[in-house]
């Protein structure tokens, strides 16, 4: 039982706990907080995997901007307690077992394809001493066109969000 394995299990338990809390919470603001907990646990897992830049981007962009947007919208729309309806029996009696089957199926194929392959060493972090520099090399040389395309995508999304959410006086 060395430190990386303990850290992994702690963060994994936090992430699963947050996801279960997301499902079971009655108020949307509690679901949002649970999702932020999941994202923070995942950021620590990215640090364990040596992806420092991605961990920082996850915290800054995902947990620090996208979820703030969610929290703002929940606060502004005053989304209260959500009512549980039993309208769809099919979702309850068929959806839950089928989702469980999906997870088991994925786990089976993952187990089959990763048995006998090399293990990760998550303790010697970072393996690449300057992964940020190499990542930015890849991003700006090989993936330059997708990078520029996503910047135009963000511009379109910004304009679209402003136009859609505007209240005509």
């Amino acid at each position: 039982m060395n430190v990386p394995v303990i850290m992994f299990f702690a963060c994994a338990l936090l992430a699963v706990f947050g996801a279960v809390l997301l499902i079971l919470a009655k108020e949307p603001i509690h679901s949002a907080l649970a999702l932020i907990l999941v994202m923070a646990a995942l950021a620590v897992l990215y640090l364990l995997l040596g992806a420092e830049f991605i961990a920082a981007v996850q915290l800054i962009v995902y947990a620090g901007a996208i979820m703030v947007l969610f929290v703002f919208v929940i606060m502004l729309l005053n989304a209260g307690v959500e009512d549980r309806t039993n309208q769809s029996l099919m979702a309850k009696y068929l959806g839950l077992p089928l989702s469980g089957f999906l997870v088991l199926d994925l786990a089976w194929w993952i187990a089959r394809s990763t048995s006998g392959k090399a293990e990760l060493t998550a303790s010697a972090v970072p393996a690449q001493a300057s992964s940020t520099i190499e990542l930015s090399n890849l991003l700006f040389k090989q993936f330059l066109f997708p990078f520029e395309a996503t910047s135009i995508l963000i511009l379109i999304a910004m304009v679209g969000a402003v136009v859609l959410a505007r209240r005509d006086p």
């Binding site: 699963v16 040596g50 995902y62 729309l77 060493t121 990542l135």
Partner: protein, 102 residues
């Protein structure tokens, strides 16, 4: 044995994805459904980073970067649509938004 096998990370990713699917099916609030989509995207991001570390290439991390950016754009537009629905139909319950026209 001095590390965490990649298997553990992928199983965690599968479990989080499954929980995201369950949340998507069972929640009735539009914003909660959006959040379950974000949970599924996060699970997939974890799988990408785990594979990138196992194979030693950084392409997985570049893809995660793009997934995060696209998720941001999608969340902005989706929440704008949710605000519109909330103003027009006065409810955030997806079961009550089932008519194309009033």
């Amino acid at each position: 044995m001095n590390g965490v096998p990649i298997f553990y990370f992928l199983i965690l990713s599968a479990v989080l994805f499954g929980l995201g699917v369950v949340a998507f099916l069972f929640k009735r609030n539009i914003i909660a459904i959006f959040m379950s989509i974000e949970l599924m995207l996060n699970a997939v991001n974890l799988a990408f980073v785990a594979f990138s570390r196992a194979l030693g290439k950084l392409d997985g991390q570049v893809f995660v970067f793009f997934v995060i950016v696209v998720a941001a754009a999608e969340a902005a537009v989706g929440l704008a649509i949710a605000i519109n629905i909330a103003h027009n139909r006065r409810t955030l319950n997806v079961e009550q938004v089932d008519l194309l026209k009033f």
